[in-house]
Amino acid sequence: MDAGGISVTVRLGQGEIPVDQIPVDQIPVEGQPTQTIPTPDLEFAGIGPEVVVSTTALVIVGLLALSQRWPRLRSATFWVSIVGLAVAGVLLAGAWSDVMTFGSYQTLRGMVAVDGFALFNKFLVLVATFLGLLIAQGFLRRENLDAGAYHALILLSAAGMLMMASANDLIVIFLALEVLSIALYVLAAFHRDRLESQEAGIKYFVLGAFSSAIFLYGVAWVYGATGTTSLTGIAQFLSNFTLVENQGLLVGLALLLVGFGFKVSAVPFHMWTPDVYEGAPTPVTAFMSAGTKVASFAALLRVLQTGLETQRLDWEPLVFGLAVLTLVVGSVLAIVQTNVKRMLAYSSISHAGFVLIGVQAGTDDGVAAALAYLFAYTFIVVGTFSVVTVLAHRGDVGHDLSDYRGLSRRQPVVAALLAFLLFAQAGIPLTSGFVAKLAVFRAAVNDEQYALVIVAVLVAVVAAFVYIRLLVVTYLEDTDSDGTAGRVHVDGGARLALAICAAFTLAIGVAPNALLDIADRANFLF
């Protein structure tokens, strides 16, 4: 160990002892190497969903290969995906009941944490995936795209998200991040006939790679500072030694935040979001706006709450700053958009700001609030993008505000659902959006972050203007068409997805007890 000639003091409990004088037996050591290679412990239940989902993806890839000879297999991919998701869901439920009964545990050498928190987020990922598959059916048919590849990639990306939700090691987080991202890069560029789609793909890719490099650099620094990438290990280390003004850890922390900030589209790392959301095929946008955020926030929360819990004073101001910037920029930029997808992209940035409030609070309440927010957000945002999906025309066009003019006449039911979901985004009571906002505000108020709350509520008003503007177009502006011209067909999958989203949004808005209970119980290993 080379201290590089710089004196370092490490606080050990109360007193300060120079590093060199720390008795060896006080340095916790575990896992003495042995001659035989021991088989790592494995609790399959913990990683069941990931394994099932990625296996399903492989099955689909196989089906695609076979479909050269038997083209009918092509249509099976959807159902295979659904079955895979269902199985994953069942496993997830089983794991939940295990965890709730016997408690959380780690597996695979501590790389995977199986706790309520992970399972909650996995559930959300599965939901987003399921809905992403549902709304894509009509879309893929309309746009004449390769459904099988789409399903495979969605499932692979979902597998990455699932891994991320229960990742308990920075390197696993990184890899999972890459899994979900790389699949999404491809999905963003999935629409062959749209230049925008490919542009979105390359932009997402370049910036994604750029930010993962930064993230990884952060991992390296944290590794250097703590000697491990395991969140549990980091936490143990940090609770044993109080690091004072440790640059290495701080640099790592800052760089990790950049990586997470990029994934959750926190300002100023958000700039890819509108372009990619607009350019990507709409079902992909729906899927990634929900799934990526859930997974990234899950990892972020776990890192901050389990790994760097002791460094609260260091990261709180950073997250605070990010939250404020994200809230303000997201909503202010949203109000000047004329493309609906883009507008919703900015609004999703603003939503990320709200979740960051929960993150920032850093309390149990805060975590529960962030979870509740993500839960509500998943249904709302997927629902909204579902509407956007079905209203577009061949070539994934028709996302301009003016294309929504007279929608309430043309398609009253869709318009009403859109209105409802938009009100939910605005946080009007009796929608899940209100409950979610209430939860994060509660966390922040409990944390006595009044300034943040005030910023947030005012931003909510600004953001409300965005939704109101869309409603003005759909409902209030006169249209000269007779009402039915330009009606689009809403296929069964999208209908089901919309119904689910609206139902959950309403149900949580009216009776949020169940959600809040679960969010409360979805706590960490620690």
Binding site: I37, V61, A65, M111, V172, V251
Partner: protein, 184 residues
């Protein structure tokens, strides 16, 4: 002393070729500069007892990745020089300033950094009685890091599927046998 000399040479080479990557107007030159950096870094790996990695670095990076780059450059025929001026106003100065500031910050921070993680409960040691570097890496990989290792397999599947999906010639039915030999 010797290590210092080797280090200095390799470090300077790495940095210079890295700068070369950035400033080469021709992508082919950039790629070649990249190879230079990769080799230099491999040397630095060796200096730090990461023999296996040094080898992989050369084989995978220089051998595969850079070749792939060159292949694509040639395929697309983009091996022409970039314009000297930057069409985005102020992009160059602000980028350089940002880079400079970041570098300054990082170097200042590095001055006071100590791998305090040495106090940690860490994994198997770098060297010792139990075999060489490769063996140690392998052992670690298949015990402690089995899960990340599995994840990389998924990653490769995606890479393969994604690449095929993207570059296929727009036709639905030529999804060729992209059966990946996945590790899982």
């Amino acid at each position: 002393m010797m290590t210092w000399i080797v280090f200095t040479v390799a470090a300077v080479a790495a940095v210079l070729s890295a700068i070369g990557v950035v400033v080469s107007r021709n992508p082919v030159h950039a790629a070649l500069n990249l190879v230079g950096t990769l080799f230099s870094v491999a040397v630095l790996f060796v200096l730090q007892e990461a023999h296996f990695l040094a080898a992989v670095q050369v084989i995978v990076y220089a051998g595969a990745v850079v070749v792939l780059f060159l292949f694509v450059i040639m395929l697309l025929g983009v091996d022409r020089d970039e314009m000297l001026d930057d069409p985005l106003p102020f992009q160059r100065p602000i980028a350089l300033v940002a880079g400079g500031v970041a570098l300054f910050g990082l170097s200042v921070l590095i001055q006071g950094t100590v791998a305090t993680g040495g106090l940690s409960a860490r994994g198997p040691a770098l060297s010792g009685d139990e075999g060489g570097n490769v063996e140690r890496v392998a052992k670690s990989l298949f015990t402690d890091f089995i899960w990340p290792f599995e994840i990389t397999s998924v990653l490769l599947v995606i890479a393969v599927v994604g690449a095929i999906v993207l570059v296929r010639d727009g036709r639905r039915d030529d999804a060729d046998s992209s059966e990946p030999e996945s590790a899982s």
